[in-house]
Symmetry: C2
Subunit: 711 residues, 2 copies
């Protein structure tokens, strides 16, 4: 046990007391004791129950105090009101290092006295140096020593290299039950549900898993993360060593709102979660089934070296269904078999076999015998253009699934270092063959589509790992913000930045803006216009009017003094009409920019992930087509380029339909600068540069709105 | 047996001869005989094998001729070369009405002599009045009489109300095996795989299922359809009575090309398939699993009256996962429980239950006992705002799954006429409860997402049925095309329509076009321009230049005679440069239209579905965002309106971002007219009206291209 984290006290205790242990099988205190016994826990178990001498054959104690042996971990499953008392006993003992509080009825109820009850419990524990998992949780499992503090029923102790972390006890228990229903029960290393996170939280468990030698794949179910930035930092360090797979609800609006109602999870923007996960290399899965399948594939198989996945089958329809699914993952390619591969396949396969009718796809025909499968698999694995193989089979009655499995395993015993996944359709009679394959680390899936999706997930991880080797990891450097006084002044006045202030600030960061002047009279404005040069744009400057266009307080394309005077007065009038209380500071006179391609660069402080930067095409593209991309700051130039390329409208930036091709470099530079601006100035809540006109060689910011944290 | 179709001879024969029956278990001729015996086929079985006296306990005959009893159906599983000889014997007998030819090695090989072998076999059969299913097929199953001509292994005879039709024998067999692995094996009524379709094809089987009393749900796996229009017509008639569920591969490009390689299926545009399926009310599923789940839900449960689906659970995470999945189906709503429902739920549920934290979602908390589940389900079903319920449960060890199932069934025995689906997570210990529920027609699913998707499919069918009641079923009437000579002339000259001809033609159909004149000299053009009124547009008229803009052969915004002359000459020069062989007929002078919102209306003859109409916004929206919608002609006004509303950019047509709101009625009218134009004139291969400018009160076609079938 050379691990550093003190969570060892939860996962590797020498002794466990179960407060609330009982003979009554309808109580969790019974199931927990049973689970510890069924798992053959390697340490001592002390049931605590004031009314019993023995429970399930173990000597019981009336309270914690009366246990004459050392007690390292306490599991508490009694009514919440009594928990502080038990915690005090634990503290008084002096040897207790950790407590799993199963009991609910604390802060999750949002009832003030119950919130206090939780605080009281935590305070007692803290003072005594006792760490807490829970309350309102099902605790932890460690298959290494047979520790199981949960009341999940019918779970077997099956060691493995997957560790699981869940924000829902029920989902966590389902995953366990589910994974044990596979042809070969999937093994877990550790498992945790941290409930109210009164002390130990998701992040700490994640860090613990990160350094856990027995954990290769970390699987999670989450509804929301509290400290997204630190979470990402931790995951980023894990990714090169271990896979992280997350099922996060919130794919739909109603799902998000249901999650928000569940133990008050902070939910946030699902789009930002997806962007953040992708950014650090988390494989986000869609469903419980996807989580299980992906985890199984990652736990059993090597990663592909590249993205070229072949499909081998003797069953036309199901084989094609696998190809069809692969095609939905844009990063997958069907391999181009070498001439030698094609010849070798034709030489050994039945005459009806289709070898190169569709790229990377071999249909051996229903005449294929067991040995054909094995030989064809070997030939395909030998091909340098192939990175992985899906084998889909629907055995005719005259083939023997066991013999097929054995022959395939004989082929694969050389460990080709390329992933192979299988789908054997279907029914009870193939289950033994599936088991044999899975015992030998060839994962089998119920349907061709699930097999295909799972190997696609392996490719996804390969891509993440390759991306991590990107040499452009140079972070932009912080800028000594010479204009920081602007922010301080606005904050002191409890207002957001006025546009002239915003322009000054972004100029400090090297963002190009149109020439402009802040004016207080029509005369000043005319003077400014003549020095800037017509045509100009006029905009109201008011701390109370954020949406200037809605207020009719912007006038474009003003060509002379007369038009200017009229526009100036109209803007003032419209502004007053829009908000009679608005403080009008003056009018900003800006050079009218030449037409370019309108883009938007935005930044906002996300409640989970902190500064997040958005890029998209302007106008209808953002509003109606939602064609925008997010990324958590900081952002490198390469990352900014990737953002730009990932929007659907990207062809419009590189000259589609005779439009001018604009400077991607200038846009990427601007994204990096906005990222830096947000990071350097935590008072900034939101930056909205809209539009940013892009041209062949340059960009220019036409409008800048900066919202401060004035609450 | 009051059915009319002669496919009765395949599904309800009194006697079957199996030519190629054998004791050798590695041959299909053995498995077929075994399947007939295992299914306890109600008619006579005559094995045919020249070398055996008895096979599997049945008297064998040396050939068809020597069977002294009546033979109605012949199943043939011998090498293809010998099939014509056997067919001749069958013909000579005079009593054989139908033949299932399992043997492969015919037209599917594309080898000329084998194509001929198939033709020869069919000819012999036709002359003798014998219908054929196959060759290269696995034939049919009928659970009513125990007929099973397939060589699929380990399939049980389980009657039910689902009938299956597959273009892949392996996929069909997988579905059977799969469906028998459910908690309660799903029952099938009939099953067919028609192989090469040398005589009986998919459509004929579909028609047979349509009138089959025992079939409630028709499930299909298809790769491509030959006669799409007739297929749609047949399905449209079926839909009000029976559900049609189709798994069609081709969701991705590579999947389409793999399907095309498989027995040469004609594949076609997947987008058109989706549109056509939706149009007639076919539920298109995504995966094998989806096919199974959807079919199960449709077979077991009533349809919801509306789209409001509630989620009831005692397990936060999995319950939310169900809500999340529901939210992905845009047509589903979470119900707004009545006040009474909320009060009743709160009154009976444990204090920790979350009753109205998220709309339509009830989390009973882990404290919920078996009776809470049943009572809460009853209360929710009683709510007038609820159309269906998903119950998701992760039973704690202290609850009994059997008791839960019994209590739920007691609640449901009143048959609420609202669908209920369940997910009981997870593992072996809940399987008995799942079986009990399914025995009583409550479908259970392995994961919350699958349960949610399945009930969403039920809602989809409800929506299809409601839509079928749309009163606007008035088809536009055919137009006597006074300008048909235009088409005849172009066809005679083996060319497509020139733009002036296309304009004339669409004008006949009431499509508004800009004033224009076809000119042959600059003088004629100037004259035309002055009578039309400047500004004008000039375009080349040439049968050899279809893409005029690419050729630099269009000039916009010509304001006077001088500009016109210059533009006229430039267009001629550019056209010659673009294609020195091009025949230049002259120049079209058109009124320059006022700016409007650019849309596209197109039509083309789809290889499967015939005339198909497309609508979308013009320019980048069609080219980059692929924001278009398809529909098979004919199209009613209401359908055209639905098309327009279904594009993502629809808000741009109704005044988003200060743009003008345009006439949806005028656009819908134009779509209907293009539909009619295509239907009336089958020589037209493609119509491309691009752009069609839309205005507040009207539309106008600015450019018309009509491609004829000149091949």
């Amino acid at each position: 046990m050379a691990m550093l984290s003190n969570l060892d006290n939860f996962f590797y205790p020498q002794s466990v007391a179960v407060v609330g242990a009982t003979e009554d099988p309808s109580k969790s205190g019974h199931q927990i004791l049973r689970n510890l016994l069924d798992f053959n826990f390697s340490g001592e178990i002390y049931p605590v129950n004031p009314k019993r001498e023995n429970i399930l054959g173990l000597k019981a104690y009336k309270d914690l105090t009366s246990i004459p042996h050392s007690v390292e971990l306490v599991v508490i499953t009694i009514p919440s009101d009594e928990v502080p008392k038990v915690m005090r006993q634990a503290a008084d003992r002096g040897d207790v290092r950790a407590a799993v509080i199963i009991a609910s009825g604390f802060a999750e109820t949002k009832i003030p006295e119950r919130v206090l009850l939780q605080q009281e419990t935590v305070t007692i524990a803290k003072e005594a140096g006792i760490r807490i998992i829970g309350p309102n949780c099902v605790g932890v499992i460690n298959t290494a020593n047979g520790l199981n503090t949960t009341f999940a029923a019918n779970i077997k102790r099956i060691p493995g290299n997957i560790s699981f972390l869940s924000q829902s006890g029920a989902m966590g228990a389902s995953i366990l039950a589910f994974s044990q229903g596979q042809p070969i029960p999937m093994g877990f290393n550790k498992w945790a549900h941290v409930g109210n996170q009164a002390d130990v939280n998701v992040l700490e468990v994640l860090k613990y898993y990160a350094q856990d030698k027995g954990t290769k794949v970390i699987a999670m179910y989450i509804e929301g993360i509290e400290n997204g930035r630190e979470f990402l930092k931790v995951v980023k360090e894990i990714i090169p060593e271990k896979s992280v797979v997350i099922l996060k609800v919130g794919r739909s609006e109603v799902g998000s709102s249901a999650a928000a109602s569940h133990t008050g999870s902070i939910v946030g923007s699902d789009q930002v979660y997806s962007a953040a996960f992708d950014q650090v290399g988390i494989i986000r899965v869609e469903t419980l089934e996807d989580l299980l399948d992906t985890t199984k594939a990652l736990a059993m198989q090597p990663l592909p070296k590249g993205n070229r996945i072949a499909v081998l089958t003797e069953a036309g329809g199901p084989g094609i269904a696998a190809v069809d699914e692969l095609g939905l993952h844009s990063y997958i390619e069907m391999p181009d078999f070498t001439q030698i591969t094609k010849e070798r396949l034709k030489a050994i396969l039945p005459p009806m076999a289709l070898v190169d009718h569709a790229r990377g796809y071999v249909d051996m025909s229903a005449a294929a015998m067991e040995h054909h499968h094995a030989e064809a698999l070997q030939i395909i694995l030998d091909d340098v253009n192939v990175d992985g193989v899906i084998l889909v089979t629907v055995l005719p009655g005259f083939l023997n699934p066991q013999i097929l499995a054995e022959k395939l395993l004989a082929t694969l015993k050389e460990k080709p270092d390329k992933p192979v996944v299988m789908c054997i359709l279907a029914g009870d009679w193939v289950q033994e063959a599936c088991s044999l394959l899975e015992e030998n680390s060839i994962p089998t899936f119920m349907t061709p589509e699930r097999a295909a999706r799972s190997i696609a997930r392996l490719v996804q991880r390969t891509i993440y790992l390759n991306r991590a080797n990107d040499t452009d990891t140079i972070q932009p450097t912080s800028i000594t913000c010479t204009e920081h006084a602007i922010i301080s002044k606005a904050l002191a006045e409890k207002r957001h930045l006025l546009e002239p202030e915003a322009i000054k600030l972004i100029t400090t960061y090297g963002l190009p803006t149109v020439p402009s002047a802040f004016t207080k009279t029509t005369e000043e404005a005319k003077h400014a216009a003549s020095s800037i040069g017509y045509p100009v744009v006029l905009k109201v400057v008011s701390p109370d009017i954020l949406h200037k266009t809605d207020a009719g307080a912007v006038r474009l394309n003003i060509c002379n003094d007369k038009e200017l005077e009229q526009a100036y007065n109209e803007i003032l009038a419209n502004s007053k009409r829009y908000n009679s209380q608005a403080r009008i500071e003056g009018i900003l006179v800006c050079k009218q920019a030449t037409p370019g391609i309108e883009t938007i660069i935005g930044g906002k402080v996300d409640p989970q992930f902190g500064p997040v930067i958005m890029f998209g095409l302007g106008g209808i593209f953002v509003e109606i087509f939602k064609d925008v991309v997010f990324r958590v700051a900081p952002i490198t130039l390469n990352e900014a380029r990737t953002m730009i390329k990932s929007i659907k409208g990207y062809p419009l930036l590189v000259g589609a339909r005779g439009k001018m091709s604009v400077s991607i470099e200038a846009l990427a530079g601007a994204i990096v600068k906005v990222s830096q601006l947000m990071l350097d100035n935590p008072e900034i809540q939101e930056v909205d540069l809209n539009p940013v006109n892009a041209y062949e060689q340059s960009i220019i910011v036409l409008d800048a709105r900066i919202i401060l944290d004035v609450a």
